[in-house]
Amino acid sequence: MAEVTGVSTSGKRGLTVTWPVHNLPAMQLFGYGNLSPARLDATFAALADPTRRAILARLATGEASVRELAEPFTISQAAISKHLKVLERAGLITHGRDAQRRPRKLEAAPLAEANEWLERYRQFWEESYGRLDLLLDEMKRTAKPRASGRRATSKRKGRRDR
């Protein structure tokens, strides 16, 4: 049922956010202040790149060395290393103790934090519009007497029923 009306049908929720951290005060309003802004910025910057997202998706299935991570890509290992540095700075990944392999590992906390922020942005509008639903219901009830006067056919029907 929820799928029926969607303007965009891509994805489960039809939700795609190109990331404009477009408005700092609004972000505070959404509770951004409770999270760590610098880290959040770093997280979103890191997530803005498709290669880095692919790397994260790979690491979500388990740790991997740089060489293993580079395999599915056509770009050089050096380029992959660069991406890994960005991810590391953002705290999204760490590397293991094995000096030779230095396997990279996903860190879930920053992602959860970023997701929390996006949820709040949604929530702001969900909640505002939820209140608007209630207000509109109320307005409809008070507007009804005038509106029903125009409906001649249904009015006649109503009378016959009586």
Binding site: L15, T16, L24, L29, W125
Partner: protein
Amino acid sequence: MTTKAEGALQITTPSDREIRITRSFDAPRQLVWDAYTRPELVKRWLGAMPGWSWVVCEMDVREGGRYRWVWSGPEGAELALGGEYKDVVPRERLVSTEKWDQAWYPGEAVGTVEFTGRDGRTTLVTTLRYDTKAARDVVLQSPATEGMGMGFNVLDALLASIATA
């Protein structure tokens, strides 16, 4: 509740200068328009997150008219924004500039709210667009938005896979 799900909230980005919020309402356009343009009604639904309350809600809804909204929040925090109405077509379109007092980007954003629908239902499409190149560039160059184009669904999938790992 199920009927509301039909018009569920969507957030999309039609271009790298815009963010768009879409939602349908089970009410005719006239009522939705009123709720959007009359201050005493706007105050009842917009914002008002827990801990925040309205301080100023002034709206002179006509072309060239201005609006100003101020909220106060926890620990003396204050949020304020305002702007000018650029295009006002009752029950169809409301275009206004938007500038937060505490804005970190230069220039203004332009917000367009489009009202469409029939048979007692209304769909609202709100599009925020940066109107100056400078503002857009700040947004584009900001480290927070480098590259743009993060798919929320990717993040969802990622988090789901982490949760099950």
